[in-house]
Symmetry: C3
């Protein structure tokens, strides 16, 4: 006898949903009400108010090392080309031909001389100028048909874009703070060792919330907790008794780490501004368990080549979180970046990229399994948690529950999120721009 | 040359649909208008007004024989745990962790000691009490976070749940009537021999309508009509001539059946209250053709062990229909239950479960093919009919057609259905409860 | 490392879409605004205002050669049977049983004596009369339950249907003009050699637009341009220099063609009425490159049997376009028909059918590869272009771009399309027919 899978039903009947009321009555200290996680309306609001309004991490410069190298990134129905121009600068353009709108670059990554539309061969330079367009009527002016640009900024090798007409200005301040933590890892001198895309059947906010607490790590992430202290998020006086030995190791490792940091001139203090600003972020350098060198099964370095000019592998992890879509860890031997893109109310792309020194040779200086096992397993485990969360909050019986003390970053995330929705609401209320406008 | 399948298009443009007008103008004696079968709006109304408002059959007690045994059932976006508690009682809970809403049990069936959330290990007893929740803030009261309960009732081994805040009270009366028919088959002393889930690409009402008439049996169900008299639904004076020999056999078999029933103390009279009440139902005991023992290809018993304390296999079928989602046949040797769950406007899950005496041994006392062939084939045939019905009523050219006299149960079903929609409309009109409420 | 495909997100939040405003402000000379191509609302409007209001090409008579032969065609949620009746006439009926709405014929093509519903055996003649309906109540009148008819017309072997209550009357004029061009190819004396269905992930209007210009042929269709002059669409004074040699060959070939046409009594003048009327069309006979006989890789005939009573293969192509869904080429040796059916805002079925003389034997008189390669490859290439177009116009950054001079047929298509939407708006504004009516 076979048992066919009992597939999940999706209700779309949100015609009566009052988004504003839900935004205004969000209860501090509790998870969000269901529509934030499951409705098409909030998904579209999130694309507009969050992903098309704030700075979004898209790639590192190591992914586009040479002129003409590009990556394409899809956010909602937007598609953006991030390309290195002939002068070495990083540019971003909408991936839309100015003729009849054809998507220009269809691969996730690649290299071109110019950007040539496959349909009628309209040709654009990496900086976006139209230089060829076939036979046109008299008066056709190529200067009127440059690629539509997208704001782009680079911080110590991390590329961010912003789809908004006016990008948040607090990016400069953010860059000034976080740059010194990351610059010593010399991302410009790394290469991509591996990249994995994982599609999780969960709302992007559940994916972010999952990443912001380690309440679930001890039971849920056996590989990660080889090196990541499961005391993360607990205040010293709240640490469960069973975790006290791990906490003592953590204190010892922190002391050794700080000595190494001082010697290498690396900042390590925690800076946490997760809410209260458009570009909410958190950065710190913290010790790793085990050998303390890297996110591996035993804590030993995964790549034999030190990054940049660092003099030791024992540098813990420089960990950066940026609202709404990235987290990041830089170690002495490698860097791992994480970014997410919402694909639907209940689908999110999580991209993980491992960078090692550009001179490191696979099979000689690093082994891919050793390098990637911890986060591949951890991501897979998190995907299961997030998918169970999505199923659960979809029930009409779900009601918001209390965040535990160790989940305080989730509260920060929700605070930031509601702030952004309100800011977007104020902006759009002051505009008279019908949505069917041709732009 | 290949011919790609021409896939069906789904229109969702029901923004102008006036559900109330459609409900009010339903024409007696005719099939329903198309939106009842095809629109997302009526699907969602059906989940609310029917499946979350009336008693729903979910399983038999044979599916959860021991303490900790559970089944999960998804209805719309609801997910419910039906579990046997440590005292042997049957409990039902929403399958939603009270922390951040994670789905608790992810398997369709299984056995647990306590219900432990996989995410942060919140732990609930089978009766729903929270007994462990990790480190929480001072003042956290576990008694405030018990699993949200669901009404549950058991009738002679058949488990019904009701998702409504106030379950229909006529269940007691229903139970009193049907219990004596079913109890002699001793479902508590059976086991599951087989269970098959079939997803039909049709609205749940077409699936129910299909089950309520045998106008299509003679041509459509060669295996079923080995034992099921195709005269079902015809009044004596309306039986087609070609069916008169079958009708004579039916009369003879009924006479023999009644004698056996009287000797075993089994009620057999027809009780039909398919409309006019929330828990609409119909029960009777009727003769089977062939050997008259069971739903098999030749009418002989499929299991060598008599159920309960019955003294003969020749007991026909005790057949129960309960609005909106179950039908059921109990024979001397086995029981077969059918339940359906709507998955979408055009998708319905049909679950069929065969129960035999708990002591019967597969391969010795019963053969799975012999036991299941008739209903597996019949269900597959019905799925084709229902799917063709769904395609047909989706055409703008469809208009309701007349039910034939032998389709009188369909008329009863539609009457009941419209009654329930109207009752739900009255209930919700008297409430001022915005649907975005957190509950 | 694996890279999961980054799937495209679909936004459905068109609740605020003002279709009328978009229709009224269409800018001549530019491609349509995005909602016309991507929104569910315009898709449904297109089904109503275009595909259920104008004449639609569905098949050739060669596909239903004998009485009882039928094809079924699905347009939106409509399903239509096109069947040859016992007198040899072509009939069209809605494919919906008058009992409970079941779809009657479920195959794309076949042959029947009568049309018998598989569910309860209601039986209809090919002309649509109900002749059997089982046991019914007194007073049941079979004459009230004939199949609902669909308007159907045949022009020189090409079958068109119209789902509208009142079909456009300009069809007669259209038929009178185009019949003489096509009749000499004797479609009634052909057979189907091959038929291919291709589902393109693009709006039907992008598929039509793609077919109306050859700006993309030179770079995009190496097989097609073996015989199709890539100068199509250019005015003589606008032909790019690199195409001048091809243009000279074209002028020479035209001269030879006209001589052959005069001898065979074939009209060849261009008649172009692509807009300004419901049944917009364009017909001409034009020379082919290479041997000038057929759409093959070298221009030589693909079938050794001349069609009808033609005396030479060198007859170029009689090319017909009919708004909204067909294009067609008749050569001396074979005919190829193309039709499209919209399946969704971003999905379109393209059906291509090759007809050869009914006496031609596969493997002897024609080779399937030789016959079909050019259009199979060309269709595949066009599908890629259309799909990239769909992705591109879905971006919020898309804005309509200018049609080049050689894209003048696209402008004609858009003009016709907007005319039809406006005509439909006027018709429906003058009706008071709620859409939930039972008909």
């Amino acid at each position: 006898m076979t048992m066919a899978p009992q597939r999940q039903m999706t209700l779309s009947g949100d015609e009566g949903l009052d988004l504003d009321a839900l935004i205004d009555r969000r209860r501090p200290g509790y998870s969000l009400e269901a529509p934030f996680y499951i409705s098409q309306e909030f998904f579209e609001r999130d694309v507009d108010a969050i992903f098309a309004s704030t700075w979004i991490f898209v790639a590192s410069t190591a992914e586009v090392p040479e002129p003409g190298d590009y990556v394409t990134i899809d956010i909602g129905t937007y598609s953006v080309i991030v390309i290195r121009d002939d002068d070495g600068g990083i540019r971003a353009h909408h991936n839309v031909c100015r003729h009849r709108g054809t998507r220009l670059l269809t691969e996730a990554t690649g290299s071109v001389g110019n950007i040539v539309c496959s349909y009628h061969q309209w040709t654009y330079t990496p900086t976006g100028e139209l230089i060829s367009a076939g036979v046109q009527a008299p008066g056709f002016d190529m200067a009127c048909f440059t690629l539509r640009p997208v704001d782009v900024r680079v911080v110590a090798g991390l590329i961010f874009i912003c789809l908004a007409a006016e990008a948040p200005e607090d990016f400069d301040d953010f860059a000034a703070v976080v740059g010194p933590y990351i610059a010593p890892h010399a991302i410009d001198r790394t290469k991509v060792a591996a990249q994995v895309d994982l599609v999780e059947d969960a709302n992007w906010k559940l994916v972010m919330e999952n990443n912001r607490e380690c309440y679930h790590c001890e039971a849920g992430h056996p590989e990660l907790t080889c090196t990541f202290f499961p005391t993360y998020g607990y205040r010293p006086n709240e640490i469960p008794n069973r975790l006290l030995p791990a906490y003592q190791r953590y204190l010892d490792a922190e002391e050794a780490l700080h000595e190494n940091c001082r010697r290498n001139g690396l900042p390590y203090a925690l800076v946490e501004e997760l809410s209260g600003r458009p570009t909410g972020f958190r950065i710190e350098r913290a010790a790793l368990d085990g050998k303390g060198e890297s996110y591996t099964m035993d804590g030993s370095a995964a790549s034999a080549k030190l990054l940049g000019d660092l003099d030791t592998f024992v540098l813990g992890r420089a960990s950066l979180h940026v609202q709404p879509n990235m987290w990041f860890h830089a170690m002495g031997d490698h860097v791992v970046t994480f970014s997410l893109v919402p694909l639907g109310p209940d689908r999110t792309l999580v991209r993980t990229t491992w960078l090692v020194d550009a001179e490191a040779a696979e099979g000689v200086d690093y082994d891919l399994d050793h390098l990637t096992t911890v986060w591949i397993r951890t991501n897979e485990q998190d995907a299961v948690f997030c998918e169970r969360g999505q199923l659960g909050v979809s029930s009409p019986a779900y009601e918001p529950g209390p965040y535990a003390p160790t989940e305080n970053h989730l509260e920060e995330f929700c605070t930031w999120y509601i702030e952004r929705l309100k800011a977007h609401r104020e902006r759009t209320a002051s505009q008279v721009r019908p949505r069917t406008s041709a732009g």
